[in-house]
Symmetry: C3
Subunit: 347 residues, 3 copies
C-alpha cells in the first residue's frame, strides 16, 4: 500500500451529494456510498450484506437508506433494521461505516481506524460558505496513480513546460526554486516573483512583486494563496511571507485534492477564484477557463506518464533539485504507511 | 466450474439463425458456430482445424459449411471434406460437434457428454409454433455471471424493489413467501395473490384472485404461467394449484433462459405474451414494453452487483428466508457438477 | 520472444513524421519516439530519464528534443544536455537510442544490437521518390499478433476465400501452388496465371499470361511485382521469371510491412500502384479502393482468428501444402531468435 489510511480523503463536492439520493464513490479501491441522513453525511461500504448489491443504487427513506435489490433497510450507523419477509435481523447484518464530515464544501471520509478520526486534521480549505472568496470548482477523473498527481503538484517547475500555453510561466520560472518548509503533515512552498506583471487573468499595468504560497498536505491536499504586492515588497520582507492585507491585486485562492480511487485511478478535485476585493464572478470564470485548459494539460501528461510506467519493466527515476518537495512528501507518507502497518500487525 | 455440462443450454432464438448464414455463439466460454444443414441445426466448435479461424465467418454451401480463410469445407458431422490445393484429408481434420436441437423456437445445445444428450430433458417452453399464445421475444447480454441472474429469478421478492416502477409489485409482495416445491431438476414456485386487480397490463375492474406459478429448471430456464381467477378461487382450492381453464382474465406465459457465455458474461433470453383468449398482439406489445423496462432494471442492478463482487476480497452473503429457492437450486447444481467431475476423473 | 531483434522494422511512413514534431510509435512492445534532428531521423526510447514522461509529448528545438513535463533537453544521441534549475547533468542522464534510417519513404528502426545495424539489410522497397511508380499508401492497426499477419501474407491461397469479393481470385487460384524459393532472409513466391484477363483494376480485352512474384523478408516485409504478358509468354519462359520489360499491361508494385507493436498488436503498412507506363493516378486510386476493401477483409478474419486463439487452451494447427512458405519463414525466424538469445547469454 502506498497511501496512508489514517487521513481524511476528499470524497465529493458537497453540492454533488443530493439531499435525497445516495452517491457512489471509490477511495483506496473501496466502494463507498455517501448519503444524507437528516443533518449528517453518512459513508458506508457500498455493498449490501445480503448479496453485495451496491447501496448506491438504493433509496433514501427519511434517515435511512434502503437497498433496492431485495429491500434491506439500513440506518445511519450501517445497521440493517428491516429485512422484507423476515422478522429476525441478525446482529451481524451491518455495513461498515466510515467516519465522514462535511466541511469547506467537501465531504471528507476517514479511511483508517475510526478511533483516530480527528476532525482537527481536516486541512483548512476554503469552501463556498466563506463569503470573502468567489470560487469555481470541478473535478477530473484520472487514469493514473494519485501518487503521480501528487508528484506533479509538489514540483511547480512543470509550469514552464506543461503549462507554457495556459498559466504561461516562462522558462525562467523553472530555473529558480521556491522556499521549502517541512510541515508535520506536508510541505510548504513559498515564492516571490520580483518585477512581474501578475499572473494570468490578473495582469497589472505597473510592475509588481508576486507572492504565492501553498501547503501540500497528507493525504494529497493543496491549499494555495497568491497575490500581487507593490514593487519592492519582496525586498522589504526579506523575501519572507508578506502581510497579506497589503496585496494590491490578483489575490486568489485554490484548493485542490487528489483522491486515489483505485489502482491506477484517481479523482482530482479543484476550486479556484479571486478574493472579493480583487475580482468578481467574471474573473472567476476566466480563471476556471484557464484551469480547465491547464488541468487538461496535466491529465494528458500524467496519464501518458502512467502508460509509459506500465510498460517499463524496471522503473527508475532520476530526481533533480526540484524533486526535493516530492521526496520529502513521499518519505512522510512512506513513514506513516509503515507505522500504520506495524500497528496493524499483532505482536 | 460452477455450471453443469450435461444440460441443454439455450444458444439462440430460432429466428435469429438464418437459413444460409452461420452464427457465432458462446456457451460456458466455448466458441460455437450454429448453422443449418438442410433440415438440421448443427453446432460445431467455432474454430477451423487449420489455423483456428472462426467458422462463423464462413459460408453455407448446401449441406456444408466452408471456412472462408483458406477454404476448408466441413460437413454436418464436423468432418473436413475438402482442403483447397491438397487432395489428401487427414482423418483428424474434424471439428468437435455438439448435440443441437431446435424446439420451442429455441436452439438448444448440449454441452456435456453426447452419450447423455437426452432430448426429453429439454424444458417444455412455449414456442412461436404454439397457436394458443401470442408471444414477443428478445435477449439481453449481461456483463455478469449467469449464476447471479439465476439467483435473481429464484427470488421474486426483488419485484417490490427493483421493479417498483415496472411490474409494480407493492412492498407487501415481498413480505410473503411463495410455496416452494423441489423438482428433480429445479424448483417450483406457486403463489396466490388474493383480492387483487390483476397484474400490470391486465388490470381488472372486479377483484380477482391472482395465481402465478413457475418452474426454474437446470441449467437456468424459467417457465411461468399466470392468470386471474374469480374472487374466492384461492380459498376454494385450498390455496393449491387451480384448474387453469377457470381463469377469467390475464393469462400469460413467459419463457426465460439464462446461458453462461463466458466468465462474468451471460445471455438472457425471454419471451412473454397473453393466451389468445385473454389478449391480443396489442397486449403482447404492452407486456414487451414492461419487460424491456423491467429487464433493464435487473441488468443495471445485477451488473452493478457483479462489479461490487469483483472488488470484494472475501465474498460472503447473508441469506434470508427468501433465499430458500436460491439455495436449493444452487445445491442441485453443485451436486450435479460434483458428479460430472467425479465421473470425468479416471479411476 | 517470437520476433527477431536484429532487423529493420518499419516504424512509420516518412510523410507521417513532421519536421517539427515528435511522433510516438511502438515496436516489439517498446515505446519509441521518432523525431527529425536536422537531416537525420532519430529514434529514442519514449521515456524521459527523469520521471518517465513520454518524450513524444515533447517539443522539437532545433536539433534537440525537449521533454515538456519538466523541461529536460535531449540531443540527437539521447544525451540530456539541459535540466532546468540544475546546472549539473549526470552522465547517466541518457535515453536509449535506436539506429534509425529513412529510406523508400519508410522510417526503419533497428531493434537489436546497434553493432549489427547494417543498412544493406533494409529491404529494397519502392518509395515515393521513385518516379516510375505512382503509389498510394496507408496503414492499419491490428488487434492481433504480427505473426498471424505474416502467416496470411505467406499463403496467398486465402485470396480465393477471404478476398473473393475484392481481389476476385477464383477457387482455382487456391488449387495450385506458386513456385517457392528459400532466400537467406525470407521466401520468394512466383506464379504464372496462363490465359487470364489480368488482375482487378487492369483487366485486358485480350487473353494474357499473368505473372506475379513477391519476396517476403525478415522481419515481415512483402515486396511484390505483378504484370501481364502476351499470351504464350509463360510457355516461352519455361514458366520461369519473364523479362519484365516485355510486360504489356497491368504492371503494379506493392510494398507491405508488418510491425509487431505490442503483445497481440501490430501495425500493417502498405503501398500499391501502377508503373507509370501502365497506369495513372486514377488507376492508383482504384487500386487503393480495392486494397481498402481487401485489407479490411484480412483484418476482420485475422482479428477474429486471434480472439479464437486467445480462447483456446491448447493451440494446435493442421498445416496444409499451402503452408510450406509459412513454415519455412517461421523456421527462419525461430532459428535467428535462438541465435540471438544464445548470443545474449553470457558463457
Amino acid at each position: 500500500m502506498k497511501y496512508v489510511r489514517n487521513a481524511w480523503y476528499v470524497a465529493a463536492w458537497s453540492q454533488d451529494l443530493p439531499e435525497d439520493k445516495p452517491v457512489a464513490v471509490s477511495i483506496l479501491g473501496e466502494p463507498i456510498v455517501l448519503w444524507r441522513s437528516a443533518q449528517a453525511v453518512v459513508a458506508l461500504e457500498d455493498r449490501c450484506v445480503h448479496r453485495l448489491a451496491p447501496l448506491s443504487l438504493g433509496r433514501c427513506e427519511k434517515k435511512n437508506l434502503r437497498c433496492m435489490y431485495h429491500g434491506f433497510l439500513y440506518d445511519s450507523t450501517g445497521q440493517v433494521i428491516e429485512i422484507p419477509g423476515q422478522p429476525a435481523i441478525p446482529p451481524k447484518a451491518r455495513a461498515r461505516k466510515y467516519p465522514a464530515v462535511e466541511r469547506h464544501s467537501w465531504i471528507w471520509v476517514w479511511m483508517g481506524d475510526p478511533a483516530y478520526a480527528d476532525e482537527s486534521l481536516i486541512p483548512p480549505a476554503v469552501g463556498f460558505d466563506e463569503p470573502d472568496w468567489i470560487l469555481g470548482n470541478g473535478y477530473l477523473d484520472y487514469a493514473a496513480e494519485a501518487e503521480l498527481i501528487n508528484d506533479n503538484l509538489l514540483d511547480f517547475s512543470h509550469l514552464s513546460y506543461v503549462h507554457a500555453n495556459s498559466f504561461g510561466a516562462p522558462p525562467a520560472f523553472a530555473d529558480e526554486r521556491p522556499k521549502l518548509t517541512v510541515l508535520p503533515r506536508g510541505v510548504r512552498f513559498e515564492r516571490w516573483l520580483v518585477g512581474t506583471h501578475g499572473p494570468v487573468g490578473s495582469r497589472t499595468e505597473q510592475v509588481v512583486d508576486g507572492w504565492s504560497a501553498y501547503d501540500f498536505l497528507i493525504p494529497g491536499v493543496l491549499l494555495m494563496w497568491s497575490g500581487s504586492f507593490p514593487s519592492g515588497t519582496a525586498q522589504q520582507c526579506g523575501f519572507e511571507r508578506p502581510d497579506y492585507s497589503r496585496a494590491i491585486a490578483g489575490v486568489t485562492f485554490t484548493s485542490q485534492a487528489v483522491t486515489p480511487t483505485a489502482d491506477r485511478a484517481a479523482r482530482y478535485f479543484f476550486s479556484w477564484g479571486p478574493h472579493r476585493s480583487h475580482g468578481d464572478e467574471k474573473l472567476r470564470d476566466v480563471l476556471m477557463g484557464v484551469a480547465a485548459m491547464a488541468f487538461a494539460e496535466d491529465k494528458t501528461m500524467i496519464e501518458a506518464q502512467q502508460r509509459i510506467i506500465d510498460r517499463t519493466p524496471e522503473v527508475r527515476i532520476l530526481p533533480t533539485g526540484h524533486d526535493r518537495g516530492v521526496m520529502i512528501f513521499s518519505q512522510l507518507v512512506a513513514k506513516r504507511v509503515r507505522e500504520e502497518q506495524s500497528r496493524a500487525t499483532p505482536t
